[in-house]
Subunit: 324 residues, 2 copies
């Protein structure tokens, strides 16, 4: 290891994009680059793209890979952190991919892999909250819903490496189904997928929304940002669907507080980044209604300010911690 190999690269690898960030020795983000994932091209092609994103981001910061000590990566789905193997990642259609091994071969640097939402939890905990709370639950609303648990300052893996699969928590057993997620699960009620599904279903049922003016009748290529714009313009349908998703999120947050009693619940992900201003007051209120009387004051519910950078930040934290 060269004396100045003290930078870190964090990669957030998701269903639609690969985001890579290069961080200073004190984990300040220097530069980032984004590529589309193109999972339809197959595992090997995606690994090539991750490799490319890593090389590109070092170059963006006028740094050589020799100046990088380690790479951290958050991957969607179930990850076996020791081996760095992706057991199962439905968003990209992967099963049992030795991602750490393949990337280390291509890059000649140590690579550490973790579930994407657990990595994001590390990012919020260490870089945003400076590791101050003893316990924190990270809750990330994006295409799906995931999370991570910090107890006594340490990420809780779970016996099966699947702790933090918050999206699978059932909160409305007899509720409606939306897409692939289990009926009544948090994910089926509050993910971007669920929100889009409900808006499209309402439009089919004849409900009006300015989204159809913005995007066409079939609402193709809808994004969270479109919902924010529709909300700002007073769209009643979007307001209702987003408020429902927020209320459901409040129920899930209350469950997490009642079961775990964390000091902080930190919300993040694309949905919160785009719609947090509208959703957070509803989430707070609903959670407060349901948390055991007398215990709510000990908990802070916050929206992470790291936004889209939570994943790469946490991946960099992982790289630093594991390469010590």
């Amino acid at each position: 290891m060269a004396a100045d190999s003290n930078h870190f690269i964090g990669v957030d690898f998701g269903g639609t994009k690969i985001l890579a960030g290069i961080f200073s020795p004190s984990l300040k983000l220097l530069k980032s680059v984004k590529l589309t994932t193109k999972s339809e091209r197959g595992v090997e092609a995606v690994i090539d793209r991750i490799t490319r994103a890593v090389r590109d981001v070092a170059d963006e910061a006028d740094l050589d890979l020799k100046q990088v000590r380690a790479i951290g990566l958050g991957a969607p789905g179930a990850v076996e952190p020791e081996s760095g193997r992706v057991i199962y990642a439905i968003n990209v259609g992967w099963t049992n991919v030795p991602l750490k091994k393949e990337l280390e071969k291509g890059l000649g640097l140590p690579v550490f892999v973790e579930n994407d939402c657990k990595a994001s939890t590390l990012g919020v905990y260490h870089l945003e909250l400076k590791g101050k709370p003893r316990s924190m639950v990270g809750v990330f609303l994006g295409t799906g819903v995931g999370g991570g648990l910090i107890f006594d300052g340490v990420l809780h893996p779970g016996a099966n490496f699947a702790a933090g699969e918050l999206g699978h928590m059932i909160i409305d057993m007899d509720g409606a189904k939306a897409g692939r997620a289990a009926r009544g699960s948090f994910e089926s009620l509050a993910s971007r997928t669920a929100i889009f599904y409900r808006i499209k279903a309402a439009v089919k049922d004849g409900h009006k929304t300015i989204l159809t003016d913005m995007l066409g009748a079939d609402l193709e290529d809808m994004r969270s940002g479109d919902l924010r714009r529709a909300l700002r313009r007073g769209d009643k349908l979007v307001e209702k669907v987003v408020a429902e998703a927020a209320s459901h999120t409040g129920v899930a947050v209350a469950n997490l507080i009642n079961v775990l009693g964390p000091e902080v619940v930190a919300l993040g992900g694309g949905v919160i980044e785009a719609l947090g201003e509208e959703m957070m007051p509803i989430i707070q209120k609903r959670a407060e209604e349901l948390v055991l009387p007398g215990t709510f004051d000990a908990v802070r519910i916050i929206a992470s300010r790291l936004g889209d950078n939570a994943g790469i930040s946490g991946a960099a934290v992982l790289a630093q911690a594991r390469s010590k």
Copy 2:
């Protein structure tokens, strides 16, 4: 402290009964005594009764209180473990009672107080499972529903001392309400209270059950054991209500597994003691359906064999651990 003051007394103090057990230095249960709580007589009277149960159980084992090193006690509701103060215990109508202080004054021995379900969790973990799993969730179905979380071999208190309030987890947001518990909460769907409530409601609606032959038309003084007897005699109504409670418990267990990934989920409490044989296969099956694919094999779901003694056992573990 006398050289032979090496026994421990564990007390399980609940809404209807006070159970006290005296344990050998290696935490073998020697004798136990049971008194009714009589919370209607007020705080002071109940504290006197706890004191009496402690003295009685030592006497039952032909031991003097001088031969006891410490007393552990599990109390219903929210407990502040350091001060041994019962913050809030709805079952007995207590708020802010300095239980540790009062008992120490009366008994002249160190007393350690914990939430009853957390104490039971300690009992199952240390005395039944010998502390072998790294993580365990205790789930206790009785008059209410509560629990406790063990991570890395240690009881997780929660920032507000209210971690493990599993009964407040909402699993059927739009579900029916039963009694005092929040709508759709685990407790409102699977506690003894909820099961009795549903049976009584069904009888009012004209459904038939042999329970009315056994107990009279108003089903007064119904107990979990009555349900077991009715089940054994093929009672369809009881079978249906108990199966529903088990299925709901399976949903809650799946939620806990998906969020926490524990090595063991241990079920206990009066409902499981009486109806575990019928409920456990349904709980297992429902949980397996809902747990993230590929992760269920890492988890064991068991019914505790400690039964009614889980609470006093855990209280004794607490007494030993805290008086070291």
